[in-house]
């Protein structure tokens, strides 16, 4: 049984800049006071997630909605085990596939085929197994002879085809997705949607962060609205989308009529 349970989870990260990244300045600050000390500890703490409590169980298709900077990607990274919470707890069980960046591990100097093996490696799939899948993945990408060229020659749409094909070659128990499909062309998007149908069907939990309300209504049954790192609304996906649109309209209205 896969599950993801968050209890009072917060993620706070310090943004180091300039002086606070310097060992020399840190050491100097210890011996002097005043301005040098201020420089050395010159860091801003960003609270990306604030006291989040959430239960995600088998069968949940959760949509993450919110403005840019609301904390969607941070939440996905916490669920993926990439960011460790600074407060609170995460209890999780299950095989996770985090599709947060379609091009992770892709090497621009390597050919498309080599990158398929490489990307698979970052998904914890042994190269031997990946090699047996290369042909089916190559066929899905429809990139033909370009697969033998270095990926630095690819357009962003081609990179997405490659990245998506590899990332979706194995169905996981928990699938975390940050939206990056929008750069694909129409025929690819259609193909991707058909694959997503089979893919999402066999994964037990899906968490998808997206701005596309169509995608959210289609794939998700639950939704949460994030605002400044807090859950502002949760419930049925349609209700949460309406709440978000309502909040957006309200802010737009407030801006238009000050």
């Amino acid at each position: 049984m896969a599950f993801l349970r968050l209890r009072n989870l917060s993620v706070e990260f310090p943004v180091y800049q300039g002086g606070s990244q310097s060992l020399k300045k840190m050491l100097l600050a210890a011996t002097t006071q005043g301005n040098l000390a201020r420089d050395a500890m010159d860091r801003i703490n960003v609270r990306a997630l604030n006291d989040v409590t959430l239960d995600i169980e088998d069968g949940d298709r959760l949509g993450l909605i919110g403005a840019n900077g609301a904390g969607k990607t941070t939440l996905l990274r916490v669920l993926a085990g990439i960011y460790f919470p600074t407060r609170g707890e995460l209890h999780a069980s299950g095989r996770v596939s985090a599709l947060l960046d379609v091009s992770v591990g892709l090497n621009p100097e390597a050919t498309g085929r080599e990158n398929i093996i490489l990307r698979g490696m970052y998904m914890n799939i042994h190269p031997r197994e990946m090699r047996s899948r290369v042909d089916e993945i190559a066929e899905f990408t429809e990139l033909g002879p370009y697969l033998d060229m270095p990926t630095r020659t690819y357009s962003s749409g081609m990179m997405i085809r490659l990245g998506f094909a590899v990332s979706t070659c194995i169905p996981p128990e928990i699938l975390l997705m940050d939206e990056w499909l929008s750069a694909g062309d129409a025929s690819f998007l259609e193909k991707a949607q058909r694959r997503m149908e089979t893919f999402v069907g066999s994964s037990s939990i899906l968490v998808l962060a997206s701005h596309s309300t169509d995608l959210l209504r289609k794939w998700c049954n639950r939704g949460i609205l994030l605002q400044h790192g807090r859950i502002a609304a949760q419930g049925n996906i349609n209700d949460v989308i309406d709440a978000y649109s309502g909040a957006v309209a309200q802010r737009a209205g407030a801006l238009a009529h000050p």
């Binding site: 069980s93 996770v96 970052y122």
Partner: protein
């Protein structure tokens, strides 16, 4: 068709102490040898893609350096060429490994920034990648050693087998150095250049291009320099002699202290690394 696990399966349902989590990380990292060895090979292939001789460029440049230095410094130190050149060759090959592991160790997590922030994997995998990559380069450079030993008729006995445990110890040291310096450099960005300067200075005070005998009675104090101990335990068996007394002792002490100290820091700060880079 059966499916293998995609990504890393996480089971945070049991609460684990930081030390247990750090230990799990080290064990899991070491077990993923197919992953870090493939990454290391990839690094090497990419570094030399498009070049004619590949990693053997390093070997060539080393041969040139040895030839140039060998002729002049043998005269300077009043050593015969047939004794000095093998000494210099082996010393330089090992020093190259040790110094590069230390310098590249600083970049362990920094260079893997995009991977660390996108994919969950044990942090120690990156350390193994650094060390493995340098072991591959060492293997390429070691090609010169048998040549030089044969050309200069160096008597080599079964003591040469001692290089196996010596390399094992150096590998372990490489891991803790990569993790420790990797963490410190991720937090304090001016550490890599500091380390680089340090290593350069140590090169001059370690008998690599000058013979330890030149120090006379001070020679016995040499093993206090752990980098000398590291070079000595491999160089001496290859040249058919024994390492200086205490070289192994110093090396083992440094290994133990390094491993324990790094483990303590790793346990404490492992969860912060992602936020530092």
């Amino acid at each position: 068709m059966s499916y293998r696990s995609a990504d890393m399966s996480i089971d945070f349902s049991k609460r684990v102490s930081p030390s247990a989590a750090a230990w799990d990380d080290l064990v899991e990292g070491m077990s993923k040898s197919w992953m870090w060895s493939a990454m290391a090979m990839q690094d090497i292939r990419m570094r030399y893609r498009g070049s004619l001789l590949g990693p053997f460029w390093l070997t060539i440049s080393m041969i040139i350096m040895i030839a140039a230095m060998g002729l002049i410094y043998a005269r300077l130190f009043n050593m015969e060429i047939h004794r000095y050149l093998p000494f210099l060759t082996v010393g330089l090959v090992i020093w190259n490994f040790v110094s590069t592991v230390i310098i590249e160790g600083c970049q362990t997590f920094l260079s893997a920034q995009n991977v660390i922030t996108q994919v969950r994997m044990p942090f120690s995998v990156h350390a193994w990648r650094t060390v493995c990559r340098n072991l591959i380069v060492l293997a390429h450079n070691m090609v010169i050693v048998p040549l030089v030993l044969i050309i200069f008729n160096v008597p080599v006995g079964w003591t040469v087998l001692l290089i196996v445990p010596a390399l094992a110890i150096l590998t372990i040291n490489g891991i803790w150095v990569s993790i420790l310096l990797g963490m410190i450099s991720a937090r304090y960005r001016d550490v890599p250049p500091i380390v680089m300067s340090f290593v350069q200075v140590i090169f001059f005070v370690t008998p690599i291009f000058w013979p330890p005998e030149a120090l006379g009675v001070w020679m016995q104090a040499l093993p206090l320099n752990p980098l000398f101990a590291a070079v000595d335990v491999i160089r001496a068996p290859l040249l058919g002699s024994a390492p200086l007394t205490y070289s192994w002792t110093v090396l083992l002490i440094v290994t133990v202290i390094g491993c324990i100290g790094t483990f303590a820091l790793f346990a404490k700060f492992r969860t912060r690394i992602t936020y530092w880079i």
